[in-house]
Structure formats: structure tokens, C-alpha cells
């Protein structure tokens, strides 16, 4: 009897028939019916209508039937969540079954039923199964935690499953350990900051022990997890490496590659002088070569990884060139990858062999492969100078074959060889010119035109050759058009007498008849250059070109390091890091956050929440000095004009090149005449040109958002730096951040999207009309409860009251009043934030004593009423004061100021309202 018959039932009324069979009394018939249902499901028929009938078959002691019903449940439970509940009882019962296979089956299946209602019932059975006496049940339960986490992460945390899972790492059974590691690693990935795996020397030791005992798959889980660990010193790194190296002899290629990953990563920590370092390098080569005798699919994965390894540590495989020679019946994907590695390993020592091979490959059938082989010959010439001549003659031989695509490819690479070794191989130009007519690909045409233009003085009929291209100018691709324009201008500068007409013709074609802006611009530049100053034109157009570098195709070092950490995974196959970072939020408003700030604002302005101020002395005597303070204030304001604006911190690196594939961003924030801007400095530390920049902010506490798109006018070439001032507005969406002044930024370019976060100084948010009315100040100050007050000292501030006041004003912290009490100057300051929140402060300055005391109520306390907020209120003022004073203070005193603040904060913690 075979099962294939189940695939053939297609008659009408099938569902009814099945229904009847499912409800049959005969067990055999029932089973047959379930099999038919599963077969229909597989081929894509909808059999969800049978749900209740199938679930009815669940209560059986026939394991095979039970498994079939479970399979059905996993597929349809989601579409029938209410009915799926019917199955819960059986699951819970099965989790108590004396047979461990059934217990495990139940817990495994339950985790696959992604219905919220069921997950609630899953918790208790899962808890029991995690502590089951049978390792088979425990290893299944460990994976189930990961399943549950995927459905409801919060539930897993609340139920304490994560801790139980962590305990399983110390389980006596190696397979339980391996599955627990796999589950924890997966969960940890969604909580990058949490220290879930908590790897330390003890737990590492446990993992290394389990490594020797578990299945091949378990070994992979453990090795992949080990790769995330950072040993504390080189000793530990070495001892881990020593225990991992035996895995290199495993028959499973994935075990080998994961071991290679661990070793490659930890090797970074070992000193190169160490004997062990050399031993390790030697041990790595044989297993990598062995991977090439695996099945072709695995060979492909291995080759993609070897490509990375060879770039990172060329010494490992430098003597193994021969194993990368292409076999005639290798699949094409293996051939292409081998070729890539051959070029990377090419050196003076083996170049003869490599060239002989490449020449063979250039006569193969597959067009892509042949092209790549021809290109490889050119790359060899550029990489190994001694071989250049041989390469050129090989390429000439290939051109003689007249195979169209071989010729074109050869011409493209010869152009590069000319650029690398100027004035050496130009004798071959005549041969190249013979093939002019057969070139039909833009790249080859462009290369040929470049050659003719560059060496126009040596080619007698250069004008004729170029003219022949000109006829179909508008049908050419942009690449060719641009090259033709430049080529003819070069020709004209070299032979001005005969080619005047030609250059006129091309310039008018480029500027008047073309609608391609690049072409037009270049045309105009040449035209103006030629018409105004031919000598300058010559200097510009015929300038000596920089030599091309040999390693243009290398993966840039920061990316390479990242990819090395992903050896064996898909990222290493694609040579792209996995997607990471938070998704960009759109500009929708989160209502809760707005309410928080909005509520704060209302109550502040209404002043209803404010209670009496702390020290009786200050407000009592406040009335008197106000009159005199007012005149002072006027004096002060007149002096403001001389100040240049608020304090600007020096630029700090926000996004290191390491993390952003070579893009380094540093910057600072400024506020000038009412407008906030973010001053950015973008540096391209990668090997490729960057374009298409864009910037976006995540929602933040004060609704900061770019007021204009990020304008980077020209592409950013390697090692170039550009400075941009990005205007900011405060009308973006609001969400309270922790800390308050945290700003999450996403920057996009042609390579990828990068994320970073930075803290902005709060004083950029102080608005120009932040000076509170005196009466209002007085009333508000009185109403502030003393619990909300914070006090701190600024030491070594050798300024008198006037200087402090004017300096603060430049940062939009205004002196509302000033008085003198017992020889101390008291300044009453106010400021207003962009969202309308007011902050008040009192500054006490003792003449002769270079420290000043700041007392600031934290008005924002009440409405937010969260424990961390008072500090924020204080930090706000402190930051502001600090920022404004910073310009005068010695670095030393800045530090002490910070320290003083912290000390005073610890000694006099802000009391919270009850």
C-alpha cells in the first residue's frame, strides 16, 4: 500500500466525504482520512473547513495519527483561533503523559500554534517540561521558550522562563545545553543591549565541555555563540582557541566554518610574536582546503568565506593557489568564485601558473566566466608588476581570437594597464585600433575612445577614428558620450590645427542637442575653458592622472572586520552585513508623550502647582532689590550686542567610520539668532564614492526635526570631508526620551542606512524671549515647593555678576533681577524652552571667591511626577550654565564643575513629593 494515492483525489464533494470518514468509528479509516487531509493541505487545497472533525481525532493513543493531527493544527490554528482552543485540553493532558516522546511532542507542537489565547495555557506545561526528568523533553522545551518569545516576548520575561533557560546552560545533557544556547542566542538578538547570555569564563568553560559531547548541530550552535564572546585577555583567547581547534577535523563543514570563525575572531587578540599564533595560522589552511572537496553548494559557501579570509589574512592560504584552479565540470558559481580567489592570491611567485590557467579559462564556453577570466588577466598585470608584460601579450593573443566579447573585455582591461604603467605598452595601440569596428558594448567603446584620446599624438588617424564615433553620438550611452567629448577635447589640445571643426561639432552636440545635464555641464566647462584660456585648458585636461590602485575591488577594512564575525552565515555569502538598527519611525505623533509635555506646560503657565519657595530669606527680601535690578538689567541688555552668540561645543565624533562602512560623522549643535542648527562634518573613509545622503531623526523630547533635507552637493569621494549646517525645527513629533536630550539619528547614503544617537546641549532650546516678567517671576518663584529645588555649586568661576549675567544672556538665559545680600551678588535668572516650559534659577556670587552657587527649582517635577525627572530639571539648568560659562573656564575647572554638581547632588538628593 502506498501513500501517493492521497494526492490524486480531486473529485467534487470531497470535503463531505472526508468529513464522514473522519467521524468514522473505524480507526484505520480515520487515519486514512487524516492522511488525505494532509495531502490536500500540502498541494495547497483549503481543508480548513474540516477543523473540528480533525481535532476530534486528536485524542488517540496512536502516535502517528496524533502527529498528523498536530501537523494540521499547526497549519490552520491561526485561521481558526477559537476552535484551536478546543485542542488545548489534549495538549495539557499530553504534557503529563508518562511517555517522554509524547510530552515532548505536545510541548513542541503547542509552541508552533501561534494563537495568543493558546500561549496563556502553554506557560504551565512549559514550566514543567523545562524541569522534566527526561532530557529529550527538556531539550524540546528549551526551543519552545524561543518560540514563545517570538509570539509574546513580554510573557516569557514575566514568567521567568529566561532564567530557567539560563539554568539549562549548566544542564548535564549536552543536547539540552546546545538547544538552550541556540534559544538564548536568538532571544538575545532581539535585545541587543541585554546581557542575556552573560558569557563569562565559567559559562564559557561549560560550553566548551558541551562542545565535545553534543551533536554536530549542537556544536554549531555553541561555536556560533562562542564567537560573540570577547575574551578578557590573550591568555583566555588562546585557551579557547586550543579547545576549539579539534573541531577543524569535523566531517560537518558547518562545524568547521564556525570553528574557523571563532579562531579568526580570537586571533585578533593574540600577539603575532607568539609561537601559538603561527601554529594556529598553519592549522587553518588544511581544513579550508578540505571544504573544497565538499558538495558544490557547500563549496560555494566555503569559497565566499575564503574570499573574506584571504583578504583579512592572506598568509593563511598563500601557498594553496593550486586548489583554486577551476575544474572543467565545476558548476559555474564555483568557477566564478574560484577565479576571484585566484586573483587575490596571485603573487610574483605563482603568477606564471596563474596566467597559464587564466589563458585556458578564456577559451571556455560560459560567457560570464570567460569575461571574468580576461578581466582577471588585467588585474594580475596591475597587481604584479613583473607580470605586466606577459599579461599584455596574453591579452593580445586573446584579441587575435576575434571572439567578440573576449576582445571587448581585453580592451577594457588594457585601458587600466595603460593607466597603471604609462608610456610602456602603447605599442599595442595599433592592434587595438584594428578591432574598433567590432566593439558594440559601451564599456569597451568608452575604453577605446579613452585610449585614442589619451594617445592622440601617437595615432596618426586619431581624428578619423573619433569622428567615426561622432556620427551616432546621440545613440551612444552616456558613458561613451562623456568619453568621446573628453577624447576629442584632448585631441584638439594636442593637435589644434586639424581638429578645430571636430571639437566645435562635439561641443555643440554635447551642449545644445543633449538633454543630459552631466554631458551639458562638462561640454560647457570645456567650451569656456577653451575659449577663455587655452593654456589653462591644457593644464586641466591633459593633467597627469593619478595612478590607479591595484586593489580597487577589496572590501573595505571596517566592513571586512564585520563580515569576519559572520563567517559561515548568509551575511558572509552575500558579503553584506545583516540588516540592523531600529526601523525609522515615521512622523506620526505618539499621543502619550505629547500629553506628558503638554500637561507639564499647562500647569507651569497656570502656576497652580507651585508651592512656597524653600528659604524664607530670599523671597522675603526679594521685593527691595527688584527696583535696582531692573536698571541693571537694562545696562546689561545694551551690552549684549557685543556677544557673538551662545556657546558652541567643539565637534565630537557621533558615528565612527567603523560602524558605518567608512562614513564618519562628527558634529555639534548651535543656536544663532533664533535658529537651531546641527553642524555636521561628513568624512568618507571608505574606498568608494558616497552619494545620495539623507537624514532623519527619531521622535524626541523636544520635537527636533531637520527643517531642510541634508544637502551634500557633490558625491563624497574617498578621504574627502564636507561640512554641512543642517537647520533644525522643533515642530517634529514628540516622544519623551531617556535621557531627556537624547536624539536618535538615521543617515542614509548609497551604501546603507546608519543609526546613531547623540545628546544635544539643552541651551540650543532656550528661546530668545525667555525673559520672564518680573512680577510673574516673583509669583512663580514663591509658589515653587522647596522639595523641587536643587542646588549646586560652580567652582573656580572668576567672574563678577555682570560678566556672568551677560554671558548667560548670550545663551538666552536672562537675568530678571539682581540684588546684593551681605556682599554677595544674587542673580535671578529665567529661561524658556522651545516647548514653552519655563525654568527659573538663582545664582549667588561671592566677590573674591571664585565659586558661585546655583539654586534652581525644578518646576517640571509635578506634572511628570516620575522619579528621574527632577534630576532632569536640574541638569537642564546646570547644563545651560555650564555651557555658557565653558568658554572662559579652564578645562580643569570644567571637570571640577561637573564633579561638584555630582557631589552636591549625591549629598543633597532631590526629595520627591509624596
Amino acid at each position: 500500500m502506498t501513500d501517493s494515492k492521497y494526492f490524486t483525489t480531486t473529485k467534487k464533494g470531497e470535503i463531505f466525504e472526508l468529513k464522514a470518514e473522519l467521524n468514522s468509528d473505524k480507526k484505520e479509516k480515520k487515519k486514512e482520512a487524516v492522511k488525505k487531509v494532509i495531502a490536500s493541505m500540502t498541494v495547497g487545497k483549503d481543508v480548513s473547513a474540516l477543523f473540528p472533525d480533525v481535532v476530534n481525532c486528536m485524542q488517540t493513543d496512536n502516535l502517528e495519527l496524533k502527529k498528523l493531527v498536530y501537523l494540521y493544527l499547526m497549519n490552520y490554528a491561526k485561521s481558526q483561533p477559537d476552535m484551536a482552543i478546543m485542542a488545548v485540553n489534549t495538549f495539557v493532558k499530553d504534557c503529563e503523559d508518562p511517555n517522554p516522546l509524547i510530552r515532548a511532542l505536545a510541548v513542541r507542537t503547542m509552541g508552533c500554534i501561534r494563537v495568543d489565547k493558546i500561549t496563556e495555557y502553554l506557560c504551565e506545561p512549559l514550566r514543567k517540561c523545562l524541569k522534566d526528568e527526561d532530557p529529550y523533553v527538556r531539550k524540546t522545551a528549551a526551543v519552545c521558550v524561543a518560540k514563545l518569545h517570538d509570539i509574546n516576548a513580554q510573557l516569557v520575561e514575566d514568567q521567568g522562563f529566561l532564567d530557567t533557560l539560563k539554568d539549562l546552560i549548566s544542564d548535564s545533557n549536552p543536547m539540552v545545553v546546545a538547544n538552550a544556547v541556540a534559544a538564548l542566542s536568538e532571544i538575545a538578538e532581539s535585545h541587543p543591549s541585554s546581557n542575556l547570555l552573560d558569557l563569562n569564563p565559567q559559562s564559557i568553560n561549560k560550553l566548551l565541555t558541551a562542545l565535545n559531547e553534543c551533536t554536530e548541530w549542537g556544536q554549531i550552535f555553541i561555536l556560533d555563540c562562542l564567537a560573540n564572546y570577547t575574551p578578557k585577555d590573550d591568555r583566555e583567547a588562546q585557551s579557547i582557541c586550543e579547545r576549539v581547534t579539534p573541531r577543524l577535523s569535523h566531517a560537518n563543514s558547518a562545524v568547521v566554518l564556525s570553528a574557523v570563525k571563532v579562531l579568526m575572531k580570537f586571533m585578533e587578540m593574540l600577539s603575532k610574536d607568539l609561537d601559538y599564533y603561527g601554529t594556529l595560522l598553519k592549522k587553518l589552511a588544511p581544513p579550508l582546503v578540505t571544504l573544497l572537496s565538499a558538495e558544490p553548494e557547500l563549496q560555494y559557501v566555503a569559497l565566499r568565506n575564503i574570499n573574506l579570509i584571504v583578504q583579512k589574512r592572506p598568509e593563511i592560504l598563500k601557498h594553496e593557489m593550486k586548489v583554486f584552479f577551476v575544474k572543467y565540470n565545476d558548476p559555474i558559481y564555483v568557477k566564478l568564485e574560484k577565479l576571484d580567489i585566484m586573483i587575490r592570491l596571485a603573487s610574483q611567485a605563482n603568477i606564471a601558473q596563474v596566467l597559464a590557467e587564466l589563458k585556458e579559462y578564456a577559451t571556455e564556453v560560459d560567457v560570464d566566466f570567460v569575461r571574468k577570466a580576461v578581466r582577471a588577466i588585467g588585474r594580475c598585470a596591475i597587481k604584479v608588476e613583473q607580470s605586466a608584460e606577459r599579461c599584455v601579450s596574453t591579452l593580445l593573443d586573446l584579441i587575435q581570437t576575434k571572439v567578440n566579447y573576449v576582445v571587448q573585455e581585453a580592451i577594457v582591461v588594457i585601458k587600466d594597464i595603460f593607466r597603471k604603467y604609462p608610456n610602456k605598452y602603447e605599442s599595442v595601440i595599433a592592434t587595438l585600433c584594428e578591432n574598433l569596428d567590432s566593439l558594440d558594448e559601451p564599456e569597451a567603446r568608452a575604453a577605446m575612445i579613452w585610449i585614442v584620446g589619451e594617445y592622440a599624438e601617437r595615432i596618426d588617424n586619431a581624428d578619423e577614428l573619433l569622428e567615426s564615433f561622432l556620427e551616432g553620438f546621440h545613440d551612444e550611452s552616456t558613458q561613451v558620450q562623456l568619453q568621446l567629448l573628453t577624447g576629442i577635447v584632448k585631441l584638439f589640445l594636442k593637435k589644434p590645427t586639424e581638429t578645430q571643426e571636430l571639437v566645435q561639432q562635439v561641443l555643440s552636440l554635447a551642449t545644445q542637442d543633449s538633454d543630459n545635464p552631466d554631458l551639458r555641464d562638462r561640454g560647457y566647462i570645456y567650451w569656456r575653458l577653451l575659449s577663455t584660456d587655452p593654456v589653462a585648458a591644457k593644464e586641466v585636461v591633459l593633467a597627469e592622472k593619478p595612478l590607479i590602485s591595484e586593489e580597487t575591488d577589496l572590501i573595505e577594512p571596517t566592513l571586512l572586520d564585520e563580515l569576519i564575525c559572520y563567517i559561515g552565515t548568509l551575511a558572509s555569502v552575500y558579503h553584506k552585513p545583516p540588516m540592523s538598527g531600529p526601523p525609522l519611525t515615521t512622523s506620526s505623533v505618539q499621543m502619550g508623550a505629547v500629553d506628558l509635555l503638554g500637561g507639564g506646560l499647562d500647569s507651569l503657565i497656570g502656576g497652580t502647582n507651585f508651592v512656597a519657595p524653600p528659604t524664607a530669606a530670599v523671597p522675603a527680601s526679594l521685593g527691595a532689590p527688584i527696583g535696582s535690578g531692573l536698571s541693571d538689567l537694562f545696562d546689561l541688555t545694551s551690552g549684549v550686542g557685543t556677544l557673538s552668540g551662545s556657546y558652541v561645543a567643539p565637534k565630537a565624533v557621533w558615528l565612527p567610520a567603523m560602524k558605518a562602512k567608512g562614513l564618519e560623522i562628527s558634529g555639534t549643535f548651535t543656536r544663532q539668532v533664533g535658529s537651531i542648527s546641527m553642524d555636521l562634518q561628513l568624512t568618507n573613509k571608505a574606498l568608494q564614492v558616497m552619494t545620495d545622503f539623507a537624514i532623519q531623526f527619531n521622535r524626541n523630547s523636544f520635537g527636533l526635526a531637520p527643517a531642510a533635507p541634508l544637502q551634500v552637493h557633490a558625491p563624497l569621494s574617498p578621504n574627502q570631508t564636507v561640512e554641512i549646517s543642517l537647520p533644525l525645527s522643533t515642530v517634529g513629533s514628540v516622544m519623551k526620551m531617556e535621557p531627556l536630550n537624547n536624539l536618535q539619528v538615521a543617515v542614509k547614503n548609497n551604501i546603507d542606512v546608519f543609526y546613531f544617537s547623540t545628546l544635544y546641549p539643552l541651551h540650543i532650546l532656550f528661546v530668545e524671549d525667555g525673559k520672564m516678567d518680573r512680577q510673574m517671576f516673583l509669583a512663580t518663584w514663591k509658589d515653587i515647593p522647596n522639595e523641587n529645588e536643587a542646588q549646586f555649586q560652580i567652582r573656580d568661576c572668576p567672574l563678577n555678576a555682570e560678566a556672568v549675567s551677560s554671558k548667560l544672556q548670550s545663551s538666552n538665559i536672562f537675568t530678571v533681577a539682581k540684588r546684593n545680600v551681605e556682599g554677595q551678588d544674587m542673580l535671578y535668572q529665567s529661561l524658556k524652552l522651545t516647548n514653552g516650559i519655563w525654568v527659573l534659577a538663582e545664582l549667588r556670587i561671592q566677590p573674591g571667591n571664585p565659586s558661585c552657587t546655583v539654586r534652581a527649582p525644578a518646576p517640571t517635577l509635578r506634572p511628570w511626577s516620575l522619579p528621574f525627572v527632577p534630576c532632569q530639571g536640574v541638569v537642564l539648568v546646570e547644563d545651560a550654565v555650564q555651557a555658557s560659562l565653558q568658554a572662559w573656564l579652564e578645562p580643569e575647572s570644567v571637570r571640577s564643575l561637573k564633579r561638584t554638581f555630582l557631589e552636591s547632588f549625591h549629598i543633597h538628593p532631590v526629595r520627591l513629593p509624596r
Binding site: 538547544n179 558547518a254 586548489v323 552565515t569
Partner: protein
């Protein structure tokens, strides 16, 4: 991890479809996992996984061009595939999985299926679809591979519909401890009246030679396959003429070094079945293990030094004008005259525009096979240190094809009764302390077979 696993026939119809994770269907995550292809229900259920299933069919199986990579990325979903005869196995994922592991798993899956029902064909898969689902449920949990040793699996996935009450508690726990245990590949309590083992040293010798007879690359990839019929839990130790071991031992007695030093071979690298204790091999270079019952591959190895190349091919191709080629190929056997090579086949490629071929060979039979564009010369047997020759005249049709003939290399197939690497099995000791049989009671057999791998000579 693996999000789903699909098996297709050559037409791209799905035979098996098992989904482990919702993410592979992307957007339509809340719709049913399976949807009908019928117009009404299909729309209602908006099949998310169907999308993935179809994407692979359209982009890979039905692709116009030959597949350029075993890993395909379609709409941020990655598909890994392997093909066995005309059956496609595809693993699907959206995560950054361990790619090597996925392929190893797919091969393993093929091995497991083959061990249960033989050849992987559409017929067999349809006949055993319930079994396959049961296996997939067991060996892949949430996309994580679990114990996939057939020895262990066969103890509890039997397709007999085991009824739980028929198993005793001991039996059950024996199964689970074996599946999760340190020796997951062998069950306890195996008994044989006759303890016997067979060792096959199977080597494939690979060569790429230039027309002038220069060895461009040569290596032997070998396997030691063991068939064991041993009682209990036998502890085995395998020894061969590994240069490193011999030299280590030879330090004591200078005699032995000179005697066996020549015979020892340098192994470039070797890998072992998971039963072998790798740390012991790493520290002492001794190969010790408890073998699975029945047949398994104990080790694989590779050597590149001092390879005995069983045959030398000397080609001579002469172009006579534009319409004629003269080919002469000499083969020389290079091993002890007492040994016989078998199944010798020399394949001489001919140009596509060949119109006729005349062949004369000294030994065996030669034929021009137009469909394969080659002259195939077969010799049943050939002793060592002999030489044979074939000459052919190839008539060509005149063509205006500019492209020159690529001249693929001349390839050879053969089988010889020795190991071209020079590997010799020195011993295989068996210890089973609990049962009363000793190493001497075990009947042991060793066989060496050298086959051609890719054995090519350029012409």
C-alpha cells in the same frame, strides 16, 4: 534559523511543505499559512507562504537561465536549494542563518530519506509523505536541526504507528537517552553471533595535467567506510600509516623509522564522523570511537604528496587544414604488473562541427558518440606497466564560426585495486570490556579501491 522547507518535483509542484516560522511569508503574517489555489478561498486567505513557495518556483525552477547560485535572494527572503535527480529541496529563511549549516542539513535530510525509503524520487516522496512530515517534525524544531542520525531515528520513527502503551518505560527512556545522549548514533544492547567488520578505503585520484605532461594539480580525496556488525558498545581504535604517527613512534626505535618511514604518507587534512573523539585526535593523533551499527563513513582525508598516478595520458592533436584533425592518444599504466585496472574509459572531446570520425585502437573498443561530442574508448582490463594507443581522424564541416574550438581536456575513468595515496590500514582494534569477546574474535576485512575523480589531461 530555517523558516521553512519545501520539496518540489521537476515541474515545480510542491510535494512537501513544512513551515517553521511565520516571517518567511512576510506582510501577510496573519493570514492562513496555507491557502487554496481556488479563486475565492485563495483571495480570502491571501497565502503568504504560497508567495514564498511560488517565488522559488518562478525564479529558480522555472528560471530561463541556468541557476547561477545555490543561494537565491528574492524579496529579502533567502532560498537555499539542492537538487537530487529531478527533485528540488529548498530551505527558506529571512534571517542571517548559518548558511553552511543549512546546506549540511539539506544533505543530511537527503541521507535520512534515502535511508528510510531509498532513492529520492517523486514517486517515493509521495508514497512516504506522512513519514517525511514526521521526520521533519523531529529533526528540525523551530528551524533548529536536532539529532538526525538515522540509527537513532529508526528506533522511534518507524511508520508502524507505535502505540505508546506497548512500550515499556525502560524502552521509552532508552530511546530518549539515545536521541539526546552523547552516543546518539548507537543504541545499547546490540548483539551479533559473529562479530565482524569491513573496512573500505575508497580513494578518488584527481589530476590536471598540461599537454606537456606537467602535473598542474593532483590530489587524492579518500574515504574510509566502515561496516560494523559488533555486539555491545565496542570501543574501537583505528591506525594507519600516517607519517606523523609513524615518526612519533619511530623515535624510540631507529629501525622502524627507516623501515616504515618510506611507507608512511603525509595527510594534508582529515575529517571524521562525529563518533570520533576529536580532542583525542588533536592531542594524540589517535582515532578512537564507538562506531554506529552498520555502515558509516569513518573519515575523509586528502593527500597531495607522493601520489601514485595510475595512468599517464599523452595526447597529440594536429590540425590538418581547416577541415581535419588528427588525434593520437597514448595511455600508460603505472603500477605493479601483477595488479589489474578495470573499467577504463578515455574520453576524447571532438569539435561541435565534426562530420565523421575514423578510429583505430590497439586494445578495447572505441566509438565516436556524436551526441556527447566525444570519442569514447573503453578497455575492460589492463595490467600495470603497459601501454596502449588510439589514433583518430576527425573530419570537420567548414564553419564561419569565428570562435575557436575550446579544446576541452581529455578525461579518464578507471578503477584500481590499491590506494593511490599509499594509505595502508595498520590496525583496527576492538575492545568491549562488558561482553566476552576480544579483539581476536572479531573478523576483520580490508579492501582498497582507487577510482578516478576528475582525471584530466589538457590537449
Amino acid at each position: 534559523m530555517i523558516g521553512g522547507l519545501f520539496i518540489y518535483n521537476h515541474k515545480g509542484e510542491v510535494l512537501i511543505s513544512r513551515v517553521y516560522r511565520d516571517d518567511i511569508g512576510s506582510q501577510a503574517a496573519d493570514s492562513a499559512v496555507f491557502s487554496s489555489s481556488g479563486p475565492f478561498l485563495g483571495e480570502r486567505l491571501g497565502g503568504s507562504v504560497r508567495n514564498a513557495v511560488d517565488a522559488f518556483r518562478v525564479n529558480v525552477i522555472h528560471a530561463r537561465q541556468q541557476v547561477r547560485s545555490p543561494v537565491t535572494n528574492i524579496a529579502r527572503t533567502s532560498f537555499f536549494h539542492v537538487k537530487r535527480s529531478n527533485i528540488w529541496l529548498a530551505a527558506v529563511t529571512k534571517q542571517n542563518v548559518n548558511a553552511a549549516m543549512v546546506f549540511e542539513f539539506l544533505y543530511k535530510m537527503c541521507d535520512v530519506m534515502a535511508a528510510y525509503f531509498g532513492k529520492i524520487s517523486e514517486e517515493n516522496i509521495k508514497n512516504n509523505f506522512v513519514l517525511i512530515y514526521e521526520l521533519l517534525d523531529e529533526i528540525l524544531d523551530f528551524g533548529y536541526p536536532q539529532n538526525s542520525e538515522t540509527g537513532a531515528l529508526k528506533t522511534f520513527i518507524t511508520q508502524q504507528g507505535i502505540k505508546s502503551q506497548h512500550q515499556t518505560k525502560e524502552e521509552q527512556s532508552q530511546i530518549t537517552s539515545q536521541v539526546t545522549g552523547q552516543i546518539g548514533w548507537r543504541r545499547e544492547g546490540i548483539k551479533y553471533r559473529r562479530n565482524e567488520l569491513f573496512l573500505d578505503v575508497l580513494e578518488s585520484v584527481n589530476l590536471l595535467m598540461s599537454p606537456q605532461g606537467q602535473v598542474l594539480s593532483a590530489h587524492v580525496s579518500g574515504r574510509v567506510v566502515m561496516k560494523s556488525y559488533l555486539s555491545g558498545m565496542p570501543e574501537c581504535k583505528f591506525g594507519m600509516n600516517d607519517k606523523i604517527v609513524i615518526e612519533k613512534q619511530g623515535k624510540g626505535t631507529a629501525d622502524e623509522t627507516s623501515k616504515s618511514g618510506k611507507q608512511s604518507i603525509a595527510i594534508d587534512d582529515c575529517t571524521f564522523h562525529q563518533c570520533v573523539r576529536l580532542s583525542k585526535f588533536d592531542s594524540e593523533r589517535s582515532i578512537s570511537f564507538i562506531p554506529p551499527d552498520g555502515e558509516f563513513e569513518l573519515m575523509r582525508y586528502r593527500t597531495t604528496k607522493d601520489i601514485i598516478l595510475p595512468f599517464r595520458v599523452i595526447p597529440l592533436v594536429r590540425e590538418v587544414g581547416r577541415t581535419k584533425l588528427e588525434v593520437k592518444v597514448v595511455i600508460k599504466s603505472n603500477f605493479k604488473p601483477s595488479l589489474l585496472a578495470q573499467k577504463i574509459e578515455v574520453r576524447i572531446p571532438t569539435p561541435l562541427n565534426t562530420s565523421g570520425v575514423q578510429v583505430i585502437c590497439m586494445k578495447g573498443k572505441a566509438k565516436y558518440k556524436a551526441s556527447e561530442n566525444a570519442i569514447v574508448w573503453k578497455i575492460k582490463r589492463m595490467a600495470g606497466m603497459k601501454e596502449s594507443q588510439i589514433s583518430a581522424e576527425i573530419e570537420l564541416l567548414p564553419t564561419n564560426d569565428k570562435k575557436k574550438w575550446a579544446r576541452p581536456p581529455i578525461s579518464m575513468n578507471f578503477e584500481v585495486p590499491f590506494a593511490p595515496s599509499g594509505l595502508k590500514v595498520r590496525y583496527l582494534k576492538v575492545f568491549e570490556p562488558k561482553l566476552n569477546y576480544s579483539d581476536h574474535d572479531v573478523i576483520k576485512w580490508v579492501r582498497y579501491i582507487g577510482r578516478s575523480g576528475i582525471y584530466e589531461t589538457r590537449c
